[in-house]
Symmetry: C2
Subunit: 415 residues, 2 copies
């Protein structure tokens, strides 16, 4: 039977081997009471197995409360555990309950983070993954050889459908590839979903008729299932190409159902991610997280950005982009969404470290607040990416191209 492997960073007041065995036991056979005749066979088939233990440093204070150490030491380690696929079958929520689930509450651990998960090849037959991915999103927007350039409607909240459409018109004429709703707004009283779609798609359709370029707009469908389905249909009937889902707020089952339809590119917003990830010894790391959402079928996934306005380090952002770029089960292409505090100048470092232009690069102020107007803002972002692919640093690019020098002068200090 095929196996699933999960890698954890743990911290324990106990012997590491014992703690790892507790982990495996809790998440598989549990307490085996005597079941006539079957106990040993069941144990062999269904017990999770500790495959590997790599000791790391020990610390003198626990990372999480709820357990004491007799020795005063808390040992960290990387632990790999395997399960037979037979335990849960092809079932994403139950996979999550198995590889995460109750583990975080066990007193054998004063720290536990799911670092990665490895899935058997047969998952590729049971999960289609993203319908569009990188190639599909490029095709829909007719952008090749550079990142898709995107932006978010600001203010986040409060604009009427007509006001939003007016901004979309400015951005479409500026040459933008992609626009998204804010995650704070899906179908609020001041901007009812259907009215917003109608107003915005009128602009986008007109622009496509004139120029042949259809701006991708990710309408935020996050809601209860019936509303999400209704809103999804509405986008299709209005000629839209994308829907956005707040992944953590909607959840795996709901998001997968929407992805399964396969008629729109799904923009996966990871708001809530900090709760799952910010603590170094609690939660889940992005390499594991992104696999779950690719299995669910998300086409575009947020990865934060270099020199972002949040707490995340550049190293972590680079790892996330790399995780997305790596094929999953031989494919399941996903487009990483670079955003947060981006104004163009980070393109050089982003490319230097990741060597990819398969990105959706999102900037806010860098476009709408550009001194020469939004069209100059979009052109500036494209130019930054040309310079990045040329291999220039931010300083070299600014020295070589006057327009980028102006961009640094305007936005360089805003990080």
């Amino acid at each position: 039977m095929e196996k699933i492997y999960a890698t954890y960073l743990i911290e324990t007041p106990l012997d590491v081997a014992k703690a790892a065995a507790t982990l495996a036991g809790e998440q598989s056979s549990g307490t085996f009471v005597a079941v006539p005749g079957e106990t040993e066979e069941l144990k062999q088939r269904f017990a999770a197995r500790v495959e590997k233990i790599t000791l790391l440093e020990s610390v003198s204070a626990p990372s999480l409360p709820g357990a004491k150490s007799a020795s005063g030491k808390f040992q960290r380690a990387e632990v790999v555990v395997s399960w037979s696929l037979e335990n849960m079958g092809y079932n994403l929520p139950t996979l999550v309950s198995t590889i995460q689930g109750n583990l975080y509450e066990i007193t054998a651990f004063t720290g536990l983070k799911l670092m990665d998960v490895e899935l058997p090849p047969s998952f590729a037959q049971h999960f289609r993954g993203p319908k569009f991915g990188v190639a599909g999103c490029r095709q829909l927007t007719k952008v090749e050889g550079r990142p898709l350039i995107g932006t978010i409607i600001k203010p986040s909240i409060g604009l009427s459908p007509e006001q939003t459409a007016a901004l979309v018109k400015v951005l479409a004429e500026a040459g933008i590839d992609f626009i998204k709703d804010d995650e704070l707004m899906a179908n609020p009283p001041h901007s009812p979903f259907d009215e917003r779609v109608d107003a915005i798609m009128r602009v986008i359709n007109d622009h496509a008729d004139c120029t042949g370029k259809r701006v991708m707009y990710a309408f935020n469908v996050s809601d209860e299932m019936d509303a999400m389905q209704r809103h999804y249909e509405k986008i299709i009937s209005a000629g839209g190409t994308s829907a956005m889902i707040s992944l953590n707020s909607v959840g795996l089952s709901g998001a997968k159902k929407i992805c399964d339809h396969g008629a729109l590119a799904i923009h996966g917003h990871r708001n809530g991610w900090g709760m799952l990830n910010r603590h170094p010894l609690l939660g889940i790391e992005f390499p594991a997280y992104q696999k779950l959402w690719r299995l669910a079928g998300v086409d575009q996934l947020h990865v934060n950005g270099i020199a972002n306005k949040f707490w995340e380090s550049d190293d972590s952002v680079v790892r996330s982009i790399e995780a997305c770029a790596k094929p999953l089960l031989g494919g399941m292409s996903v487009l990483p969404v670079v955003s947060s505090g981006q104004w163009g100048g980070q393109a050089c470092e982003t490319f230097r470290r990741t060597k990819t232009v398969d990105l959706l690069y999102m900037a806010g102020g860098g476009i709408m607040a550009h001194p020469d107007g939004p069209a100059a803002g979009v052109r500036s972002l494209q130019k930054w990416w040309e310079a990045a692919v040329e291999g220039l640093t931010q300083e070299q690019a600014a020295a070589k191209y006057l327009e980028l020098k102006k961009s640094v002068e305007k936005f360089g200090k805003t990080k």
Copy 2:
């Protein structure tokens, strides 16, 4: 316009008022760029407002990484923030993206926990809440005046449908009120969902025909949407009364869709909860969490138990039971599920501190491993609750009733 209030525990390297303003700004109007003519009006209508700040202690080390303090101090505070309902309307996922969302990633905070949320009365018109709750679950199981006594099938995983049904027969004959699948198993190859339902419901239906008592079995439907819907229907057609959902793994939208059908009592399993809650300054507290799931319509919700085997303190468990007992928007009754390491003896302390028998009290070994057999195990749990309601402590109960003395001798040391 009605308002939503959220209470946070925060820790910040900045001035608290400034940090709180950042929170409110990030989750509402965001960066207000000039939108001709509308800016001030929009700000008034849609800006989240800091309603109250209560300073707490300051600490010298940050609880979460990603921010430095110029003063070397990190100030803790309780902060109440309000939003106009107009910002998101009646939309649970978008409510979550608003009151949690990106907040955990902001460098203005080195700690942030959502403590509670207060919802306006009109939510009661838009969300039915639990269809069954306490009264409905009592009616389905014909249990009055004491907690429902429940158990989990062990081993967690690996039994065939027929083996499971054989255990159910033993438990039904022992007088159990409630049984549940383990969260590690929903529709695995070794126990296909439909076969398991057929095998188990044959036993439960026969038992109901003979005795008039229908054991409630919570079949784990956690899966993708279509499978969950199919499995839900299967339970109904086989005469079942309950379905279980791993709430965090399935997510809000998927769980609500299943709850909305209203034909089965929904057992809400909170596995994954430790990831959201174990750190004192990250995530969400149960008073807020349980409101979201009651709005979604979950009838039974896990609260851990007194002297449990996990890390959680008794105080926290008591607060969780109290949170469930408190009406939400005038009703939305939910049955707290007490479990983890329970063997009966904790009934006394549970009742002393909560003064309620409106519980689903789950025990494993206390039933199946009882020296005089499972029926004696179930009777023992009922007797513990009689003693608890009499006002006896565990010691007093054991002194007064011989069978409870034996129970303490057998299980008392297992915590």
